[in-house]
């Protein structure tokens, strides 16, 4: 009887300590997530403007205005277009990972160099590429003229080229990260699978197409999910390198939100954009999870 009482007391003290340990992070969750999420939902239903001082309830008016604004759809289109960089980056990263997944002198050096852009200061990289892409004095167009004798494109000033310029930068910056993930994935493939191919008389090409590439599907899934969530929130590069771009050709959804909030001070509309974006991210992620069952290898055959 006494022993049980002591056990209960210990259990109670453990629970008390545990609740105390999670208290700070829960305080953050409740205040900076739950509370402000509810606040944001409320604001999205008002004409909250901190410049004009209005904050009247207007129902779904903000959502209606955004969804009928051609500029919003353009920014969504731009954002999706820029995400073309995800498959391109994956392709290059996969080739690099396959090349480096072997015993070879100097492979660490290549790995470090490819990852370098990912560990550089963001604004520095943006300013560097802004300089490289400069139509007149940028080194890229100088090289094009030097070696091909033609004038290069106006990388940041031509609405048809701006997005391609941003994709090149994105692939360059993100490739090292994806390659490290792929290298880790490659090392997780059990050796026996390759031995089976050997026994049944397959060659290196069979190993690649029947074992390596399909077995990497959980990694592709992770890279695509995180890439899409990050890509839908693109903002900084555009803000620094191109601004809105010629004819708003570089305006992303978050950039659109930023304009609503911090150029027009229309906080209600900015919150509504944030919610439209969240719903969009949620639906896309859900679709990816649902379809993943048909193509992601889950270890059960």
């Amino acid at each position: 009887m006494e022993k049980k009482g002591k056990g209960n007391r210990l259990k109670r003290s453990e629970r008390r300590a545990g609740m105390l340990f999670i208290a700070p992070i829960y305080l953050q969750f409740i205040v900076f997530f739950l509370f402000f999420m509810a606040y944001s939902l409320y604001m999205s239903l008002t004409d909250w403007n901190i410049l004009e001082g209005t904050q009247n309830f207007i129902g779904f008016e903000n959502f209606k205005q955004i969804l009928t604004d051609p500029l919003f759809w353009k920014s969504l289109w731009n954002t999706l277009y820029l995400m073309l960089g995800i498959p391109i980056g994956m392709l290059f990263a996969m080739m690099a990972a396959l090349a480096l997944n072997r015993r070879m002198v100097g492979k660490t050096v290549y790995r470090v160099i490819l990852y370098l852009p990912a560990v550089s200061s963001t604004v520095a990289i943006a300013l560097l590429w802004r300089w490289i892409y400069n139509a007149e004095y940028g080194v890229l167009n100088m090289l094009i003229e030097q070696f091909f004798g033609v004038k290069g494109p106006n990388w940041l000033g031509d609405p048809d080229v701006v997005k391609i310029s941003l994709i090149i930068l994105g692939v360059w910056r993100g490739m090292g990260n994806t390659m490290l993930l792929f290298l880790a994935g490659l090392q997780n493939i059990p050796k026996e699978y390759y031995e089976v191919v050997d026994v049944s008389g397959g060659n290196a090409w069979h190993k690649l197409t029947y074992v390596t590439l399909p077995m990497m599907s959980p990694t592709y899934f992770y890279v695509i999910i995180t890439g899409v969530i990050g890509g839908l929130q693109a903002f900084g590069d555009q803000f620094i390198i191109t601004g809105l771009g010629p004819e708003h050709s570089a305006m992303t959804v978050v950039y659109y939100l930023w304009e609503k909030g911090f150029a027009e001070y229309n906080m209600g509309a900015a919150c509504a954009v944030a919610w439209v974006l969240s719903i969009f991210i949620f639906v896309i992620t859900l679709i990816q999870f649902k379809t993943s069952k048909s193509w992601v290898y889950d270890g059960n055959g």
Binding site: I22, I132, M142
Partner: protein, 280 residues
């Protein structure tokens, strides 16, 4: 013998290809460094000059006076240090509780925290700005410090994964010796988590150093600018006069701390990637 030769040939081909790839990846950095050691004239001559001649340090000397880079570095550290110190402690405590302790409705509490990662940060950004504004705290570091000191859910998740590999026997033994939960955390858990803490702190530091949108929204006066805002200011002021060597010198300076961290702690980058990315 034949297999051996074939393997060597493959390696040689890969070396050639990877050298070309590596040089392409490095080319922007080479141009950044090269420009930063030139004068304004030589930065723009055709054909491009790869090795600066004359080789000048002027941009590195003058850049500090053109833009508030030094106070930018200082301000970024003022934000990073308390956030990393308290935020890491808070994340580690919560991770310990979720991994090793008995809590009522533990899984529900844990999943609720994780679910918040699905909502993009811009959702809570606007009302937060409004509330900090009403409190008169815009253009101070408070909005950039306070939320982070309470923890970081990604970090907490990573720590919890890591702690599942620490044997419970260690905790049981300490309990028999009459150690309290704080002692167990401080004497056993923290030391066991050292590599995970190192990796996560480096990543978080990079995130704070590179944060652009937060400071852009909250900090108005130049003396409060973080390193990223100071860099942007440098570019805004120097581009009209084509002072590209200066801008590139500033860019190099802002990259240096991150590159030093990367070179010194390269192992952690790969480790934390593997755990958080694939097994997590």
């Amino acid at each position: 013998m034949k297999v051996h030769t074939k393997q060597r040939l493959t390696n040689a081909v890969i070396h050639v290809v990877m050298t070309v790839v590596a040089l392409t990846m490095l080319f922007p950095f080479i141009w950044m460094l090269s420009t930063s050691f030139k004068d304004k004239m030589h930065a723009q001559i055709f054909p491009p000059q790869w090795i600066p001649d004359p080789f000048l340090l002027d941009a590195y000397e003058e850049v500090w006076e053109v833009a508030p880079l030094l106070s930018g570095i200082k301000n970024s550290l003022i934000i990073a240090i308390p956030v990393l110190l308290f935020g890491t402690l808070s994340s580690a405590l919560a991770a310990f509780a979720f991994a090793k302790m008995d809590l009522p409705k533990k899984n529900l509490l844990f999943m609720a925290l994780l679910s918040s990662m699905m909502i993009p940060g811009v959702v809570t950004m606007i009302p937060q700005y409004v509330v900090w504004g009403n409190m008169g705290l815009v253009d101070t570091f408070i909005p950039l410090i306070v939320p982070g000191t309470l923890g970081n859910i990604t970090m907490m998740f990573f720590f919890r994964q890591y702690l599942t590999s620490v044997p419970n026997a260690l905790i049981d033994a300490a309990k028999i010796d009459g150690a309290g939960w704080f002692t167990i955390f401080g004497r056993i858990m923290l030391p066991a988590m050292k590599p995970a803490i190192a990796a996560q702190v480096i990543f978080w530091f990079m995130g704070i150093w590179n944060d652009f949108m937060g400071p852009l929204i909250y900090l108005d006066s130049e003396e409060n600018y973080t390193i990223q805002l100071a860099l942007r200011l440098l570019s805004n002021m120097s581009e009209a006069t084509s002072e590209y060597p200066m801008i590139m010198a500033g860019a190099v300076i802002s990259c240096l701390p991150l590159l030093v961290l990367y070179v010194c702690f390269q192992r952690y980058f790969v480790d934390s990637m593997v755990v958080s990315g694939i097994k997590g």
